[in-house]
């Protein structure tokens, strides 16, 4: 019987005694609205393998990713590019990091208009612009880098002591 050649075991994440199921997952999605659901599916499935993220925080991350992908797709649409939106998920001992990159026209993250207070009747004039405030409220770390060549949004959901599920 011939000897089979076995591949060496996959390396474990350094500095961690937790089995990191997926170190890096990269996805390129066509910049069309129907693909945002796929991005959500991938992130929530990946996050569900992380026992240190509670379901509620997985929902929050999923919503933040959906908002970022929606903005990316709209950015590509605004410049009529066929390029794909890139999403990269990285799991490590700190938590789960998701980056979404587009090749849109860019924007000034500090220059977003403030909505009128919710008690102001003029609030109803604003149907858009809630995505970035939602992202900022939902995840632990947000970094938005934007230039004329595109925008990169980095979202991090950290492991927290009270998120450990027995």
């Amino acid at each position: 019987m011939p000897r089979s050649t076995r591949r060496p075991p996959a390396p474990r994440a350094p500095g961690s005694d937790i089995a990191v199921v997926a170190d890096v997952v990269a996805l390129e999605i066509p910049a069309r609205a129907e693909f945002v659901a796929l991005a959500r599916l991938v992130v929530s499935a990946l996050a569900a393998t992380d026992i240190q993220l509670a379901d509620e925080r997985i929902d929050d991350l999923k919503l933040a990713v959906s908002e970022a992908c929606t903005n990316a797709i709209e950015a590509h649409d605004s410049v009529s590019t066929d390029e794909r939106v890139r999403m990269r998920c990285r799991a490590d001992e700190r938590g789960l990091e998701v980056s979404i990159e587009d090749r849109g026209p860019g924007f000034d993250p500090a220059g977003l208009p403030d909505h009128p207070p919710v008690t102001d009747p003029d609030r109803l004039k604003f149907e858009r612009g809630l995505g970035i405030p939602l992202i900022r409220a939902l995840v632990d770390e947000v970094e938005i880098t934007s230039s004329q060549g595109g925008t990169a949004v980095r979202l991090v959901m950290l492991h927290a002591a009270d998120d450990i599920v027995d």
Binding site: V36, E67, T70, V118, T119, L124, E127, G131
Partner: protein
């Protein structure tokens, strides 16, 4: 992924029950249905979100636009929502102060 939109009449109220995921892909269908109802003269609309699995800012935009449209006809748009993960989106954006949010369709249509 598809969005379910069912309409039922409850006295003076029209109940639009939404099922599935509301995002940038499905929101246009939701917006069109709401506009159709307003055009048909339905000016007291209850949107039942208890069958919604996911709602993002595009969905919030549809609801804000619907409320604005109905107010211009002296109407109203109220919500039914008991799911904490959906309610959270309204809380973060402060829209709990803009919409009346009820725990059931019966409560939302009381006195209808």
């Amino acid at each position: 992924m598809d969005l379910g939109l069912d309409v039922t009449e409850r006295g003076k109220h029209t109940v639009l029950s939404v099922h599935g995921e509301v995002d940038v892909y499905t929101a246009p269908k939701f917006r069109e249905r709401l506009i159709e109802l307003v055009t048909e003269g339905k000016h007291q609309i209850v949107v039942d979100l208890d069958g919604v699995d996911f709602l993002d800012s595009t969905g919030l935009g549809v609801l804000v636009g619907g409320l604005k449209r109905l107010r211009s006809h002296d109407g109203d748009l109220t919500l039914v929502c008991t799911q904490s993960r959906i309610l959270k989106v309204f809380e973060i954006t402060g829209l709990t102060k803009v919409f009346a949010i009820h725990a059931s369709v019966d409560e939302a249509t009381a006195g209808s």
